[in-house]
Symmetry: C4
Subunit: 188 residues, 4 copies
Amino acid sequence: MNKGRLEAFSDGVIAIIITIMVLQLTVPKEPSFAALLPLVPVFLGYLLSFVYVAIYWNNHHHLLTVCGNASGSVLWANMHLLFWMSLIPFVTAWMGNNPSAALPTALYGVILLLSAIAYAILQARIVAVHPDREQVRHVLGNDFKGHFSPLFYLAAILLAFVSPTISHLIYAAVALLWVVPDRRLEKL
Amino acid sequence: MNKGRLEAFSDGVIAIIITIMVLQLTVPKEPSFAALLPLVPVFLGYLLSFVYVAIYWNNHHHLLTVCGNASGSVLWANMHLLFWMSLIPFVTAWMGNNPSAALPTALYGVILLLSAIAYAILQARIVAVHPDREQVRHVLGNDFKGHFSPLFYLAAILLAFVSPTISHLIYAAVALLWVVPDRRLEKL
Amino acid sequence: MNKGRLEAFSDGVIAIIITIMVLQLTVPKEPSFAALLPLVPVFLGYLLSFVYVAIYWNNHHHLLTVCGNASGSVLWANMHLLFWMSLIPFVTAWMGNNPSAALPTALYGVILLLSAIAYAILQARIVAVHPDREQVRHVLGNDFKGHFSPLFYLAAILLAFVSPTISHLIYAAVALLWVVPDRRLEKL
Amino acid sequence: MNKGRLEAFSDGVIAIIITIMVLQLTVPKEPSFAALLPLVPVFLGYLLSFVYVAIYWNNHHHLLTVCGNASGSVLWANMHLLFWMSLIPFVTAWMGNNPSAALPTALYGVILLLSAIAYAILQARIVAVHPDREQVRHVLGNDFKGHFSPLFYLAAILLAFVSPTISHLIYAAVALLWVVPDRRLEKL
């Protein structure tokens, strides 16, 4: 089976997800600073989600290099990941338009959490169908970030009902943690 | 002729179809559960169509691996399939916004039926232009699902005028039937 | 220089052009036949433009197989073609929403005409930079359709101010002329 | 690491950026010349941005041919470029809808300036990780345009508050400067 087409399709979907988010930055009618100001939280939300989608693309790109066999279960695990990621533009816009509201901030975390779980399932499927599982596990390492991110998302979901700002800071901190070069992946 | 570019173009179109559907999940104005509730049927419709488009992508991906010659009639049979698939976002949104109405539910089935017919035509063209037709037919097998799905869509179209819910269940059941691994295709 | 990336980029842009047109089929609010009826001309316009963009993709695909050198002037001639083609969704929606009006029907033809001219320029550039011009010219043949289509578009633009319906029929006829298999290109 | 997938992803994002801009050409309701007239500045803005995005694609295409190693810092420098470029549709629409206003014209220049800086960073990273830095620097040449464009954008940003028209002319002039064939890049 052709791994190249799985990459090409995923690239296409991720490229569209990362780009259509900008359509939610509604063009203001007035050509003034005052009209631009309410867009600041929407812009920050866009920046945050752009970074998250970029992280997923980078990691997906690395993960697929160790994928030896794009079989049925890998294809569906990949589609499952793309499904949750495709909802990122929706929750980004809702949170960006309501930066001080609990529910949109929590739902943003729910989608990040479900995407992270879907990514873990995809990784597990790729390991499971690989002829040399031990070597792939060794190459992927102990996956510290992969295990801890979901806990941070969970904390942010709950804390959104105390203070959305704390949740926003957690989302930003986890993103930063991932952007910082990861020697485990570079090793590949 | 270059089969790779046919795959790349189809991947692009299918990736856009599967992703722009999410634009029809209108971002609610209020940051409340009450504002989210009317989106539930739209979300379920999105999930259903996401699965259908993913099934088409998977099958298309497999079908093209046996395509030896991307000649004129194969190119146009492929465009014909993409045309009907490109209408899935439209009927998904109409059905999702009117979950208890007969006509949108029936039209959803009409587009699924026309897509299935277009897929069958594409498969027939690929077999017809292949130098070793018998072997390709053998590899593709008896195509049980391919023959029965149109009958289910037809039933769902008619039953939509009795109870849209029955049609929704049929659509979901056919999708499930396809997601379940298909040994015929895995054999390829 | 890498011809593959020129193809990939063109595929991406053409895939988006052909797919975003469907966003202009506004989802009706009412779940009734009456609400669907005004969409019929928009749907027919979408079908016509889908066929035109598919023709361009097919021809572009064939033309690039004889392109030996994706140099600067070929890159810009290609961008020039994509620019006019990117306006097809706009004129399709305007004509579809105003099927009996002269101006949108004429402007549709103007965009088809400018796209055809841009295609001719791209073809000329690809011939010009090819090391064996005579052979490429021979392979491309006398290009009957390429020479006559612009005359038909010109006629349709002028006749739109007499009767838009005549222009619509001309657009449909020229599209049909192109969909019919072209032995010249098959020869490649 | 796989440079091909970096190119494919960038192609996808740039193809979407260049194409979704056309969605901001709102289809007029009336089928008259009068209804088309207010779209003229929006159309000119679209043309200008189309040319800028095309220039970036061309240059990016050339730059990546000398990229030997798509490592972590190159991936992120590329994402950083795509981020600023993804805001071009937004500023194009705002400037096009308000052609005589200072702020949108200045913000357009800010996004061009940030994109140019991001491009310079990407180029610097690609040179830095290349095994033979001296040769790459020699191939890239003295990069006259790359150094002077930011100064022009800066001038246009400031002059927008004196006369937006002067800024528009500067943007158009810089674009023309880039479209004119560049022997440095052809040499590659």
